[in-house]
């Protein structure tokens, strides 16, 4: 029965695409920067997932190594992002993204 057949790589690709899209959509919709960061984390995770899946289906361990690199980038990004949010919050009480548009051209 189909249920116990092995899953093709395509399935993982679709799953990863889905997660990535949800993260992107979430980022565009929400106004709260923290949630936006979380969405970014989600997108990064989707990437990781695809890496690991590819490593597994191709039998090459390097895929998993790249996960580490993605993680460090994620960590760095969160650190700096949150620091920015904290700095912004200190200047202006709200942290609503739309208020901060002084950089208008």
């Amino acid at each position: 029965m189909i249920w116990n057949a092995t899953v093709p790589f395509g399935a993982w690709a679709v799953l990863s695409g889905l997660l990535f899209t949800m993260g992107a959509a979430g980022f565009l919709v929400r106004r709260d920067p923290i949630v936006m960061f979380m969405c970014i984390e989600l997108m990064l995770n989707a990437g990781n997932l695809l890496f690991v899946a590819a490593a597994r289906y191709l039998g090459v361990v390097d895929g998993q190594v790249y996960v580490f690199f993605v993680m460090t980038v994620a960590a760095a990004e969160v650190a700096v992002g949150l620091a920015i949010i904290v700095a912004i919050f200190r200047r202006k009480t709200t942290i609503d993204v739309d208020e901060m548009s002084e950089m208008r051209g």
Binding site: W3, G10, G26, R31, V35, R56, D62, V86
Partner: protein, 182 residues
């Protein structure tokens, strides 16, 4: 790795991701995200990447989400804004359209996929083990490793500078700068 387990676990991950997006309260969102990360971790397990599974739980769920929660607590965000109460309705439409386009492309690519790998390759015993990853990391990918260390250094420096209370540099008259943000 059968369709059943795959669908169950991925379903959990997707549902909790949706929870993050539609959560009214940021903290709820964070919790959903943690759950999603754990689901993804289990997926890694299914893909016989045990070490990554552990790292995922430790780093993402453990460190990053804790950081998020910590910042949320610091800024005591009450989640004033409604999930989708974005002022610009058009914004929502654009997001959905782009999301759909992206997903469509992903699916179309997979469908066209050419020689899609239907079956996972034979893998040696210690495939996902730390030794295996360690050797790969410190031989073939040494340069990226060093570069990531630089990235982290930069991030740390940035975070320290940004988070420092503005105006802490000693005033000409030597008195420590006042605490309040100018």
């Amino acid at each position: 790795m059968t369709w059943l387990t795959f669908l169950i676990v991925s379903g959990i991950a997707v549902i909790f991701a949706g929870g993050l997006i539609f959560s009214r309260n940021a903290v709820h969102g964070a919790m959903c995200l943690v759950a999603s990360f754990c689901a993804i971790a289990t997926l890694f397990l299914l893909l016989s990447a045990e070490f990554i599974f552990v790292v995922q739980i430790a780093v993402y769920a453990g460190a990053i989400m804790v950081l998020f929660l910590f910042v949320m607590m610091l800024l005591n965000v009450q989640g004033q804004e409604g999930a989708l109460a974005g002022r610009a309705p058009g914004q929502l439409l654009v997001a959905l359209a782009l999301g759909a386009a992206l997903l469509g492309q992903a699916v179309w690519l997979v469908a066209r996929g050419g020689e899609i790998i239907s079956r996972p390759a034979r893998i040696p015993a210690g495939f996902g083990s730390p030794e295996d990853i360690g050797t790969a990391l410190f031989t073939r990918n040494l340069l990226p490793f060093e570069i990531t260390s630089l990235v982290l250094l930069a991030a740390m420096a940035g975070a320290v500078v940004l988070a420092r209370k503005a105006g802490l540099s000693p005033k000409p008259n030597g008195a420590p700068a006042g605490g309040k943000p100018e």
